[in-house]
Symmetry: D2
Subunit: 493 residues, 4 copies
């Protein structure tokens, strides 16, 4: 049986507990490997290694740090297919999406390598004579990364790459469900020649390893992607310790379809947004807000396409919808479907665990559509994280915006409309961190800020140059070469 | 007796409790006014007004919002002397510094007004054909500002001006010691024509008003400047609620003086940094790290200048050192002096409450210098916030950096050296958010990021364009005009 | 008779020639003043003064330079109405537009004053250890400004304000037709306290004064707005002398109206774009490219509105269209109308010099619309600079883009369409420096780059932060503090 | 005999003239290859191909364009040694510098590939309601590149890579002396899969090919690096045609050595700056401005190191100084040495063509030092472009700055000083585009702006993001979604 170990200070090692838990293929329940389960002690070792390594790393010229990231980029590219296979086998998403996710990590590696010669700070004029003023970005120190199973390599790349190019060291706890692709990613860092101690992988549970990271005084920053419950707990705990935090949490993303929209295009967007990755993307479409006038047409067209969504093992190229991550997810989804029905929503299709030939041993849930949903129902407000979408009808753009904005999350929203005025109004008024026009709620590009407003985050963004604001701080530098005491705001007025 | 009221939804009003407390002049104990003491209910009213007002404000073109800020700038400029007088009378700093502080608010008003036509976001190329991508800054909503008494108008300006120009509404709790200048500042906003509800002033204690602000679901962001204890408590509490926070807290700032430094210049910097504002600036110099070789010369020169530091009422132009803020501060400082002596530090001058003619009724503490201090003593590690400075000797730049970085704070540090290599090494290695070369630890300019590393903050910065990252979030917008479903990272590889 | 003098080295003085020419009101031929006519010698004096003054000015902290610009902003604001009156009387545009133009100068003054604390350069990581790298903006030296009569104060503000805030000195030759508002503007600079020699006004002809400026070795940069013929001549001459040049020249701007456009809105845009400022804006609409399907409707609606365009003296608030600048302009326009008719275009309205009561003594040309124009006609290709617009019909967006791009100019274009896909395609494909969607070809805002592609310019832009690239150069600074020889690209690979 | 051909529209082809000229190894006069000599017709074909190719290329998403640049980067890296060998054999520089130069191209390829996802434009708030404003970078069209022999691949990379990533097509005329490495570079573009027509190589003389490029209406932009004479001629000619130009021309770079400098370090910097690349870098050190007090020490130390500068074929790893480019360069250098002697400068070493064993057949000139040079001598003012350096003594930093700035060029300058105040004063006052502190005049890094003030350029910069300002123009886009006519500066005031 393949064993997934920790990687601490440049060595692959078993956790101090000696315990392992199995890694399951969600498509068929098969045990793929077992993964070591760490304790506080392992976290502590990782942090010590990271602290030590960071002391030299910050002095390595950033362009030289970036050389290593370019190597990471090329290794990721070379192994794209292999990584996609590993990722699909432990996580379940269909292979085309697996490849897309690896591509995201590749793109991010090139992008962040490019920051080695950028990491721009500012030179500005001083208000005093013979004085020079500027700002530079400095690393934070040790970054603790806690990443989810739904984008196990993409999100890890979003966090580890900017952290490293900026001169930080990393302690990384991947999701317990997806340690295999994490191991592969760390091996690539290792092979690229990253000095020991700069990336440390600590496998284990959130309650044990995650909390130990949050509490450890040697970790200066927690960057977390996951659920709101866990995020809020981390944030309170880390907050009281005055630790920097960057959080990316839940969404309840909606596609709005206006009267004048290209309905067929909207249907494509909804199917891809709601059922891609079995609805387990943080940006998944879980609400459709449709103008009353086109509601029936849209619904019919959606239903007519449901049969195309072949379910099965994601490694099969013909499959369109894979399993959800595990049994308890399956049950939670089913629970929400029951709640929806109790709340009076009308189930149009799906609504149950798939039991067809060959699916029974996996965690498959039928693509599910509710209609006649109102915005106060729980299925219209809470994150389900499965292949379930709710249709809500409205009578105007203004009402659509209101419904869209009524939830506590603010990650992604999309609008389908042919009208430029509607589109620009929506761009302005949809209160989410990502807004799409005539495209679904998913499909962010790596060079733009990624994240959400309100309950989705704490103001920070992954991705793009915005993520540098998470992994660096500003140092303002003043050089007075006047040879005398000069007092800003006083001596010059 | 002058009464200071709240300002809520465009109206000056008494707090719901009916209670008032006196505002004292720290130079002579005189009661200057009394200030209303608010409760949760007042906070709630302010928040409701702010929420309502923000709905329209975000739609006002930013250049138009900025017009109001230019008016604020001009009114501040016009009333500079009056504001300085008010501020000195309730806070105690000498009038030249009072004017300097008002100037800081003026400069910030012009600067932030200039953001009305900037607030730059990015246009970037999309990775897909017929797709457009960009990011824009959006306001957070309602910003809760909690500001200290030591820079009662400057810090309020740092927070309220960017908040407003970016489209937020403000609920502001000033320090209980300095409500008078807060009232003046709000009047200026009012006079400049700021629509009602956009700035709300709620006077009262931190435990009542501050906590109510932190807990109120209608406040989206807390921007706090104050002590570490309070900051950590706020951050834990707000963090668990997933509220955005920006914190600016303590410092234990050092001036390093190397062998090759211009000693007279360093002496000027130390006197101004340690005893200006009676040591009550967050960037005050509270440690002097001096090379053994020049320690004696430096110490002598410092001592020879102590007599110039005339104490007294800050309104007297000839006074150089005013009172500290209140009686309990006086006692805390005196306590620290005793601790220092017990720890074995050698008291060179000062070390007691001033009892001279005319000072007894105020809160005056003699400028105090300790020498033979080691970096493990409490007086070398904890923030004293009074006119007390500790001399620590070292034998190299490396050791100086180590001592400088050994404290839990990371706000400001300064180095005096004639040598360019030393200077650049120090700029790189001093682990603080502000670094000065051949200038003291104070004197930040308003267009550079202000704030600190480690225990001083949570990664955010006031001042400059960096403060926009506190008061806005990124919205990434994608427009797909291809007329078909395009999948990033998948369809183009 | 009012005399307009030169302003050199802080003194108002007559030109060395002793000659004066009259300044005429184009609405009635009345002589308003007479203006001094300079020679090479005057230019030389101005340049010497500027060179001298610039030596100290570059050392004045930019925030302090900006203080003066804020004063300029306030004086412009205070005198807005007066300036508008002067401008309308010598230039002819209707008073509402005169006010708008002054507002543009006000906005620009505030904006450029804001650069005093910005003028951002970059800090970047060096590729070598113990080495620091950054770039700063430095002034060019003496900037020679040659400005046109159609926006006599706005364009002067676009050029002089960034020049000055960045640390340059200015020698300015305004158009001979509009010296009065130039004098007013310089007086404001004087009153704001700008040190002598920093702005020098030299009145006179292009052939004498303009050429002397281009040839003078003491002028480092020529920023010119005017015709293509003059621009090309200046550029060749200055180019051979390796002098920096920034040119803003002609346009042949089109409004495209697609099938799905809001026709009434398009009509508003065309009337304002084609006949505002009597067609004498560089961004004036001189072509309408309309989809065949809506051509008739559009044409009819346009014609039905022509009578609203009351002609007369611009100082009369009810007047919508003022005179053109002078007699020769009137004749040139009339010539073009004859050419159009000879080329086979169909004249729908206007087409002659206005001879009605009270207009005869001014330079009035009737608002003129041609239809059945083809893109190879001279009236469809050459800049007429008068109230003449040509309707060209097309059958698709692609054809509209092709027609739009077929001219040698590339200043401004506009498209009216309700469709978002059309709009974004047009934004991408219209080959002009300014693109408007559902707005006419005029109305640039001062904080965005202003200028055109192809024959319209030489790559530079006025306005916004882009104009800093005209008035500053980059200085890259490297500090090696390693104490040894390090060779980039060699020692680190 | 190897034949170097043109590369037009994706095909390698002979020039229309049928003529070839030999390519010589400057170290031994050996014929390495012969290169085709083009005419106007070849230029025209190249331009037609480029125009055609650019039409599609601008529509390729920039991140996809960048994919090709990453391939170029990797191919350059793979072939680094081979390219360095080719380059050294035809150009003469020592192999370590040859490798360094190729590394520069590699670094630039990665950097510019990184622009594929950047090419940042700005989103800004509009001053009007319901209006959106932004700017994007657009390509210029066809860029004509004219590059020199001294950095035959580095400078070609500086110009072609940003041109291509930004969406332009390229017509490239390399120096006639260095066509071999040009061919290698183009082959790499070809192999990387760049679509045909996007890079076109046209070999031939400046008078024939260069002028044809400048005159051709299909070339929108000329980016030239070379001599001032040629640059001025190009600029006048292109200027009159309103063609965009970017020029990088001569230098007369100085190293200043102050009293307090580390003399040994300065000596290292001078030897490397003056004699590296046999003094044929545009940033070569051709003046040493030394404080009188250290002049003798510096001179002695310099002389004592001269013997280390072994001359010979650059392919020999032990050689430190290679040949100059050709016979006429050798003669021009020798002529300048005679001029220096006639002017009264004192020749300390060198001063003649090397005639030692094995050098006679190459173009070798002995490393030459003049002292007692005054700043009005021709050898102190004109660019010699050979291994000749002139020592000028001064008595203060101010005088050093004056001497440094007294020449008509402004490319690079360096200062050696231990004193931070001197250093910052020099950074501010040295009037060159590149300033080095405690490093020689060469060694720019690829991510900072490269270029000079005054006679060295026309305000533009190669390298870094500044070079995007050469190869793109701004398009400002306004979308009015208010559904009504709104007039900026008028309706909102």
């Amino acid at each position: 049986m393949k064993k997934i170990l920790n990687f601490i200070n440049g060595e692959w090692c078993e956790a101090s507990t000696g315990k392992f838990i199995p890694v399951l293929n969600p498509a068929n329940g098969q045990v793929l490997a077992e993964v070591t389960q760490s304790s506080k002690e392992d976290v502590d070792q990782a942090v010590q290694a990271a602290k030590q390594a960071q002391k030299s790393w910050r002095l390595v010229p950033a362009p030289e740090r970036a050389e290593m990231l370019y190597k990471v980029a090329y290794l990721l590219k070379e192994r794209k297919e292999h990584l996609a296979q590993v990722l699909t086998s432990e996580m379940g998403k269909v292979i085309a999406e697996g490849r897309g996710e690896v591509q995201e990590a590749i793109d991010m590696a090139f992008y962040m390598a490019g920051e080695g010669r950028r990491l721009f700070g500012e030179t500005v004029p001083s208000e005093l004579r013979n004085k020079f003023a500027m700002s530079v970005r400095v690393p934070i120190g040790v970054a603790g990364l806690i990443t989810p199973w739904n984008f196990p390599i993409a999100i890890a790349s979003w966090k580890s790459l900017p952290a490293l190019v900026a001169g930080n060291a990393v302690v990384w706890k991947p999701a317990t469900e997806t340690p295999m692709v994490a191991e592969e990613f760390v091996k690539i860092y290792q092979e690229a020649g990253l000095p020991k101690g700069l990336i440390n992988l600590v496998n284990g549970s959130g309650s044990e390893v995650g909390n130990a990271m949050v509490d450890h005084p040697g970790i200066d920053l927690i960057s977390f992607t996951g659920s709101n419950e866990v995020g809020a707990a981390i944030n309170g705990r880390a907050g009281a310790l005055l630790k920097k935090t960057s959080l990316e949490m839940g969404g309840k993303n909606a596609i709005t379809v206006l009267e004048d929209a290209d309905i067929d295009l909207a249907v494509e967007g909804i199917l891809w947004g709601a059922f891609g990755t079995s609805g387990q993307r943080c940006t998944a479409t879980s609400r459709v807000i449709v103008h009353e006038a086109v509601k029936d047409t849209l619904t019919e067209k959606l239903l007519s396409r449901i049969d195309e969504l072949k379910m099965g093992n994601g490694l099969d190229e013909s499959v369109k919808v894979g399993p959800v991550i595990n049994r308890s997810a399956l049950e939670r989804i089913d629970e929400y479907v029951k709640i929806g029905q109790e709340e009076g929503a009308k189930l149009l299709t799906g609504g149950k665990i798939a039991a067809e030939e060959g699916l029974g041993s996996g965690n498959f849930y039928l693509p599910t559509i509710f209609t006649d949903v109102t915005s106060d129902m729980r299925i219209a407000k809470e994150e389900i994280f499965g292949p379930v979408v709710s249709i809500i009808s409205v009578n105007s753009l203004e009402e659509a915006v209101e419904v869209n904005n009524s939830v506590e999350f603010g990650l992604s929203s999309a609008i389908y409309t042919a009208d430029i005025n509607n589109a620009f109004q929506a761009m302005r008024d949809l209160d989410t961190g990502l807004v799409y026009v005539n495209a679904g709620t998913t499909g962010a590009e790596i060079h733009l800020p990624f994240g959400g407003t309100k309950g989705t985050g704490n103001g920070h963004r992954d991705s793009g140059t915005a993520s540098l604001d998470v992994f660096t701080e500003w140092k303002s530098i003043y050089v007075d070469y006047s040879g005398k005491l000069q007092r800003a705001q006083i001596d010059n007025y």
